[in-house]
């Protein structure tokens, strides 16, 4: 890659990440609530995945999401998968498995910023009868598996990776996880199996923002040293600055070596929004306590959008 091309994609990731934060902030201000700190921590992560790491084809889904199609079942021919927003399934293309469904607002905003969904689609967020659900399920844009019950995606992604190996596919399987999910035992069962079966066609990006619903993870249930724990389970682990696109993308460019890949993205849950510090340690969901507080966030939006 030429130095100029490198600069171009990094600049584009930074631009998209900024727009993701702005869009989520705007949404939270309008609706007096939302998962804002997740956007702060993971904006570069989502942008890097969609713009640099993942080899995806063009979206197969309408720009404006269709209404909720009913649940999957033998008698529902109308069901559609949110994976269509990530392009077609093909042997040489990658797959995106989205694990922490509470990040849905960030995912939808990412799809908009990378041109896979129309901005109007976000108006349906959390509206009755919409597929753009608050905690997305597999009919929601960009979502392939139903993983609002956390830590179930990694095992399903393992099954997909195993199947793709059996099929001889060259495409990879990328999983986005949050660090809180590593408190669930299923994750460690999954890494046992991923290592045992040498599934190096699977890569996990972890938004390690150190936050969960009750507050700071270290005050709820610690998972550190996460890198050492994962390495002892046989994973190939990289710890990077989760706001640095180059550092985030680098591990994905390495040739697979027989181990499942994990990129622990160390992130700041109030990145570019220091005002959130006042709400610490509870950053999981933002709802304004007063109109005055909401006004301070409007001012923040005005500042950020002028950069």
């Amino acid at each position: 890659m030429t130095p100029q091309a490198q600069l171009d994609w990094v600049a584009e990731v930074r631009r998209v990440a900024r727009q993701i934060r702005l869009r989520v902030l705007d949404h939270v201000i309008r609706h007096n609530g939302g998962y804002l700190s997740q956007a702060c921590s993971s904006a570069e992560l989502f942008a890097t995945l969609y713009l640099k790491v993942m080899q995806l084809g063009p979206s197969q889904a309408p720009l404006i999401p269709l209404p909720f199609p009913g649940v999957p079942g033998p008698d529902n021919p109308h069901f559609f998968t949110g994976a269509d927003y990530n392009g077609p399934k093909a042997p040489d293309l990658d797959r995106f498995i989205f694990s922490p469904a509470h990040y849905a607002l960030v995912l939808y905003s990412t799809l908009i910023e990378v041109g896979r969904m129309a901005p109007e689609g976000l108006a349906q967020f959390n509206q009755d009868g919409s597929s753009v659900e608050m905690i997305g399920a597999e009919h929601s844009p960009g979502v392939e598996t139903t993983t609002g019950s956390l830590a179930q995606a990694i095992s399903q992604a393992g099954g997909i990776a195993l199947a793709r190996r059996l099929h001889g596919d060259t495409g990879r399987v990328w999983v986005l996880m949050s660090d809180g999910e590593f408190q669930e035992g299923q994750v460690w069962e999954a890494f046992e199996a991923l290592s045992y079966y040498h599934l190096d066609n699977l890569g996990v990006y972890v938004d390690a923002n150190g936050q969960q619903c009750d507050g700071k993870m270290e005050d709820v249930m610690g998972v550190e040293p996460l890198a050492a724990r994962l390495e002892s389970f046989g994973a190939r682990v990289f710890e990077v600055d989760g706001h640095d696109p180059v550092a985030l993308a680098a591990p994905a460019a390495l040739p697979p070596d027989g181990r499942p890949l994990v990129v622990i993205a160390r992130t700041n849950p109030i990145c570019e929004m220091d005002i959130l510090e006042e709400r610490a340690p509870k950053l999981h969901y933002v709802r304004f306590k007063s109109e005055a507080e909401r006004e301070t966030y409007r001012q923040l939006y005005a500042q950020l959008s002028q950069r």
């Binding site: 649940v71 999957p72 079942g73 033998p74 399920a137 597999e138 598996t145 139903t146 993983t147 609002g148 019950s149 179930q152 990694i154 095992s155 399903q156 992604a157 393992g158 099954g159 997909i160 990776a161 195993l162 199947a163 793709r164 059996l166 099929h167 035992g185 299923q186 069962e189 999954a190 046992e192 199996a193 045992y196 079966y197």
Partner: protein
């Protein structure tokens, strides 16, 4: 009566021969679930997942999404009780074609309470998209694979292993949502499932000889549960209906029949034989069936209660019954 040794072993190997998309996942109970020879025959399609059922169910979901048909083999209790959230959200909600082959259902295991799947039918009947099958003999075990594989969605199968009696003619294969009619009569309707059907056949042979008209149905599909033959048997039964299951009386066959009867306004008595909302313990199958009243003599008592007559039968009378494989009348009539 013919006793078939380990009917699943050769049958599944033969059945899977021309089905490369069929894979097996096992959770450290490979030989206990009669799948060791299958593994040795098709090593590339067999995946040992270790003692990690939650993850195994997730892997199965992923494989199913990519066009494989995973047949999970472990003890029944470890397929639904420990990993229920994974079963519901990773497999059942997306309606994936995963086949959950649950061995040692109910009180068939001497392994005690931790190994006894006594509430699996209740829980999986309440799980949307799930089909629930229950084998009662070697013919059921041999033919359940085709029934399960024809279902567009997840299937839970209560499997039998080891020495399995052949109660039904080998050619009389299991059919989805179709009970086997084992005897006809209009005094009492008896609906039995799993190993209780063999017990029931001992009792009905003697009771019919004493003049009691019994419509006896073997139920192998617990969900869906809409076979018209079941309602016909209920409607025709002069004195009432008896269910008999290797399961809790809460949520299983007895509850399914009660729901049907209430919704149809059948207005007759129902006696549910099964575990009476209790856990069991580790002991032999015959000991437990007697202790919890799942045996033939218990059914005799239930029939006596319904018809208001005592027949003075003893355990010896029932043990003397020689069972022969029957051809279900339902099939002959339906065809």
């Amino acid at each position: 009566m013919e006793i078939v040794m380990r009917p699943h072993v050769r049958n599944f190997i033969e059945w899977a021969k021309d089905k490369p998309e069929v894979v097996v996942l096992s959770a450290d109970l490979t030989n206990s679930c009669e799948i060791g020879e299958w593994r040795d025959t098709y090593p590339d399609r067999f995946f040992s997942m270790g003692l990690a059922e939650q993850n195994m169910l997730g892997f199965a979901a992923g494989l199913a999404r990519e066009g494989f048909f995973p047949f999970l083999h472990t003890f029944a209790v470890f397929l639904y009780r420990r990993p229920y959230d994974q079963l519901a959200m990773s497999i059942a909600y997306p309606n994936l074609p995963v086949r959950l082959m649950g061995f040692l259902p109910g009180i068939l295991t001497p392994g005690g309470v931790t190994h006894q799947a006594i509430d699996d039918v209740a829980i999986l009947r309440a799980t949307p998209n799930m089909t629930v099958l229950d084998c009662g003999d070697a013919t059921d075990v041999e033919s359940v694979l085709d029934v399960a594989q024809a279902v567009n969605g997840p299937v839970y199968v209560r499997m039998l292993r080891g020495e399995v009696p052949r109660l039904f003619d080998r050619a009389d294969r299991m059919r989805l949502n179709r009970a086997r009619v084992l005897s006809r009569g209009t005094d009492v309707a008896i609906l039995s499932s799993s190993v209780c059907t063999e017990e029931a056949m001992r009792a009905t042979a003697v009771l019919r000889a004493r003049g009691v008209g019994i419509q006896h149905l073997h139920v192998s599909t617990l969900k869906p549960f809409s076979d018209p033959a079941v309602m016909e048997a209920i409607q025709a039964a002069r004195y009432g209906v008896i269910t008999m299951e290797n399961h809790s009386i809460v949520g299983g066959l007895g509850s399914a029949v009660a729901e049907l009867m209430a919704e149809a306004g059948a207005g007759k008595k129902l006696v549910r034989i099964g575990l009476r909302d209790v856990y069991a313990h580790g002991a032999s199958r015959h000991y437990l069936m007697k202790e919890y009243g799942l045996d033939a003599i218990s059914l005799v008592g239930a029939v006596e209660g319904l018809v208001g007559q005592r027949f003075g039968l003893t355990e010896d009378d029932l043990a003397a019954v020689r069972l022969q494989a029957v051809h279900s009348e339902a099939k002959a009539e339906a065809l």
